[in-house]
């Protein structure tokens, strides 16, 4: 019998069970409050969870009006409470399961003696209690552009999105996921832009999720993924509003989840993980340049240390004559074969990173410096690694940080290790095998049923406008067609291309 098993049992009962029995169950908890009083000859009972209800709302909006106004309306029924109590969407229900769910979400249930099997439900939830009010989007920082990020409260997040997408076509579809947490999950898309098939897929997958507590969007990410064995993230998760809005207008679907400051964006292709909102805020030439640097960084980060291993172990012929001296000299005191040397250093760096992430920010900074400089220098002095490798590994680690999406940057950290092993066992041809294996794997991946390697595979030339090159806005009026949006253009392409050289 698990901790929450009492709840499961109840679910199986018929909805016709009397409400009194529900109160009986809820009374077990000490924060459940039951108030009974007589006003104007009517015997009232109100029920709520102290811990979920905002006391101010309860007192000023509910108690106050009930006590003052009921005597003026002696014939009032539960259904008429909306006339008295200034709270939106008062519901009257006989369904014990619904009442239970609402009360557990912070609603106040009001019953009259005369109508024992009905309860009026009024929302008095303290929604923001204990949650962050704002988020500076520090995990996806961008120097240019807005700094506001999503917060844990999904209502605020919806507000933030709707403020920028001012169209009646923006649709939010709400559902509740998690047998225990009953987390509010919202699917957002722009009707008439997003492909209904995608919306259908997302809805279906979300509906079929069976889970207890949804702690974060990251859990939904894994539950929704087309392939759970891949180290690659199949959906972008972002805390930036601009990124989510850009996804919406491109025809992607955004999934928000209460309690998580991250929005999930799908279907995503591999290029989406290497674009940063800053690319769009800088002039397109600079945006393109930095984007290309980022791609180079990824390739370098994955291949640098495997190539070091392969060349030093198998392909000494390929070393340029001017590098031969420095490499051999720096290796001459190292007692390990190159692969152990590389693994040792890579693992050291991963340890530093991991330790830095688990420590408070200020300590982590110190640790980074101490670890980076002191350990690095000491390992070289002790003859455990060569100086050249230290530079290679440090640069590779640095390059892996350039990926804007944290999940992708983790993946890049990870796939380096199989590459190193392949390089150690088979040398250069091993690296080629590993690259081929990686490409095959990527080619088989799908994100909400869409190929992950789009627009590379299948090849879509027109969609390359916003991949390696961040084209100027006169060229990007067309939405990426591989997402099969219902509407082709984001804005008028001809007007965007018009040259205005004379001010009229």
């Amino acid at each position: 019998m698990g901790l929450f098993s009492f709840w499961k049992k109840k679910k199986k009962r018929s909805p016709q069970r009397p409400i009194s029995q529900l109160w009986e169950t809820l009374r077990q908890s000490s924060d459940f409050v039951e108030l009974s009083f007589i006003v104007g000859g009517k015997e009232l009972s109100i029920y709520y969870f102290d811990s979920l209800v905002d006391p101010q709302v309860l007192q000023e909006r509910i108690l106050c009006h009930l006590q003052n106004d009921i005597p003026k309306h002696p014939t009032v029924r539960l259904e008429d409470l909306q006339q008295i109590v200034p709270i939106q969407r008062i519901e009257v229900s006989e369904d014990a399961a619904l009442i239970e769910e609402k009360v557990l979400k912070g609603f106040v249930a009001v019953t009259f003696r005369g109508q024992p099997n009905k309860a009026a439900l009024m929302s008095a939830a303290a929604e923001n209690l204990g949650l962050r009010e704002n988020n500076d989007s520090e995990n996806e920082f961008s120097v240019v552009g807005p700094k506001v990020g999503f917060v844990e409260n999904v209502g605020v997040n919806l507000h933030l999105i709707r403020r920028q997408v001012v169209t009646p076509n923006l649709v939010f579809r709400e559902m509740s996921i998690g047998s225990v947490s009953k987390t509010k999950v919202v699917i957002a898309y722009i009707d008439g832009v997003a492909n209904p098939e995608v919306v259908q897929t997302v809805t279906q997958r979300l509906e079929s999720i069976r889970f207890d507590v949804v702690f974060d969007n990251a859990i939904l990410d894994q539950l929704l993924a087309d392939n759970s064995r891949t180290p690659f993230p199949l959906f972008i998760s972002t805390e930036r509003i601009d990124r989510a809005v850009y996804a919406l207008i491109s025809g992607q679907v955004v999934v928000l989840c209460d309690g998580s400051p991250y929005a999930l964006v799908g279907p995503s292709a591999i290029f989406d993980f290497f674009t940063s909102p800053e690319d769009y805020y800088l002039p397109w030439v600079l945006g393109t340049f930095f984007r290309l640097i980022r791609f180079f960084g990824v390739v370098f980060s994955v291949l640098a240390s495997p190539i070091y291993v392969a060349v030093l172990t198998y392909h000494y012929e390929m070393i340029p004559e001017d590098l031969l001296g420095p490499i051999i000299y720096s290796r001459s005191n190292v007692p390990f074969p190159p692969v152990l040397e590389v693994l040792f250093l890579e693992i050291t760096i991963e340890l530093l990173r991991e330790a830095g992430a688990r420590l408070p920010t200020k300590v982590a900074q110190t640790l980074g410096i101490v670890g980076g400089i002191v350990i690095g220098q000491a390992t070289v002095d002790a003859g455990l690694t060569s100086t050249i490798l230290l530079i290679v590994v440090a640069l590779a680690a640095l390059a892996s940080f350039t990926t804007p999406i944290f999940k992708m940057s983790n993946t890049i950290r990870f796939i380096r290790f199989p590459f190193i092993l392949f390089a150690a066992f088979w040398g250069g041809i091993g690296i080629i095998f590993a690259v081929c294996g990686l490409l095959i794997h990527l080619g088989r991946l799908q994100s909400f049923g869409y190929p992950y390697l789009l627009p590379f595979y299948p090849f879509r030339v027109r969609s390359f406008r916003d991949t390696f090159i961040r084209s100027p806005y006169s060229e990007t009026a067309e939405r990426p067609m591989f997402l099969r949006p219902r509407s082709r253009f984001r804005y008028d392409p001809n007007a965007a291309k018009q040259k205005r050289d004379i001010d009229e």
């Binding site: 060349v311 030093l312 172990t313 198998y314 000494y316 012929e317 070393i319 004559e321 031969l324 001296g325 420095p326 490499i327 051999i328 000299y329 720096s330 290796r331 001459s332 190292v334 074969p337 190159p338 092993l421 392949f422 150690a424 066992f425 088979w426 040398g427």
Partner: protein, 361 residues
């Protein structure tokens, strides 16, 4: 899952088959010398050691054997680490060795997947071992002295481009003969003396570094090289020469029939800069200048004729004239062509364009 384990297992098992050669556990030889003396072959290997710092300290290994193939295994018996030839930059043949033919070495190099085709070859006046000893142990003390010397001269001076690839190309081509840089020992230094010429794989003679400029511009388009020319009267300090710096030169061959005989016209157009010239040679005097240009052209043509005659007399074709004629002749017959070759009328025509003469009026 099972398939994954199978993969990992295969990777580990097959990984054991690969022969790894970690870079610090091999003896990398960068230069090799071959000599023939008293019926025995001598092999000399120069390898760097990196113990004192990134600067190299060249060391030498020498061994003798009655056969060529035995040399590298014998070197191994003197070395603490396995000898690896993958980083070879230069192979030097002693003159005696080269006279007896270098095919045994080049054939094996042509099939060796460890050495690149950019490997340089060279011929040493005297013994290769002596020259390598100078570069390794005396003042120069640099394992890459000779390769750098050759590359520098190819890129900016008179030496035509040579390497293993070009050597093999010219060797196997029926219409040309190979050539290599030619080194001499000068006291404690090694000097590039010119170009060693081969008939098939045998050394037959050499031309000076000055003549190698003519070879260079006759072989194809070039952008470098210098040539000193005599242009007549002596000036006040007895200066009578101009220094011609080649900026861009291109040869053009024309193969003609003249009665029963063939004629080869060679047109060479040199765009040159004249940096140093006698003070009496005044540019503003156009007649004098044209006259000097004429003299330069005549002298170049004269020297070219001399060079052609030398090649014809030796019955060698380092310029690849046979290849050119084959390219314009249907059913070219190598034997017939080279029967005619020594008496072939080769007529050089040189045009010199002086592009600039340094800063002036």
């Amino acid at each position: 899952m099972r398939r994954g384990l199978l993969w990992v297992g295969a990777l580990l098992l097959l990984g054991g088959c690969a022969s790894s050669r970690p870079i610090d556990e091999i003896q990398i030889i960068q230069q090799m010398g071959y000599d023939f003396e008293n019926g025995r072959y001598t092999g000399t290997a120069v390898y760097p050691t990196f113990k004192q710092g990134p600067m190299t300290k060249p060391n030498m290994l020498t061994t003798t054997s009655p056969t060529i193939y035995d040399l590298i295994p014998r070197l191994s018996s003197k070395s603490a680490l396995p000898v690896e030839e993958g980083q070879l930059r230069l192979i030097l043949f002693g003159k005696e060795f080269a006279r007896r033919g270098v095919t045994q070495i080049t054939h094996s190099l042509a099939r060796n997947n460890k050495v690149g085709s950019h490997l340089l070859l060279g011929v040493a006046e005297g013994r290769a071992k002596e020259l390598l000893n100078i570069t390794a142990n005396t003042t120069l003390s640099d394992t890459l002295y000779l390769p750098n010397l050759v590359e520098q001269n190819e890129q900016s001076m008179n030496l035509p481009k040579t390497n293993l690839h070009l050597f093999l190309y010219r060797y196997f081509s029926p219409g040309s003969d190979p050539f290599l840089p030619y080194f001499e020992k000068k006291g404690d230094f090694v000097k590039l003396e010119g170009v060693a010429l081969f008939r098939d794989d045998r050394y037959v003679g050499h031309v000076s570094l000055r003549d190698s400029f003519l070879m260079k511009i006759l072989l194809g388009e070039t952008k470098n090289g210098v040539y000193q020319l005599k242009v007549g009267n002596r000036g006040k300090q007895g200066e009578d020469r101009v220094m011609l710096q080649n900026l861009w030169a291109k040869p053009k061959y024309e193969w003609k029939r003249n009665g029963s005989r063939h004629v080869l016209d060679v047109f060479v157009h040199i765009h040159a800069s004249v940096r140093d010239y006698p003070s009496w040679l005044d540019q503003s005097d156009q007649d004098l200048f044209a006259d000097v240009k004429k003299k330069m052209q005549n002298e170049l043509e004269h020297n070219m004729r001399r060079l052609f005659r030398y090649f014809q007399k030796k019955r060698i074709d380092p310029l690849g004239i046979g290849d050119f004629v084959r390219s314009v002749t249907r059913h070219w017959d190598s034997d017939a062509f080279y029967r005619e070759y020594p008496d072939l009328d080769i007529r050089p025509h040189v045009t010199v364009d002086i592009v600039h003469t340094g800063i002036g009026e």
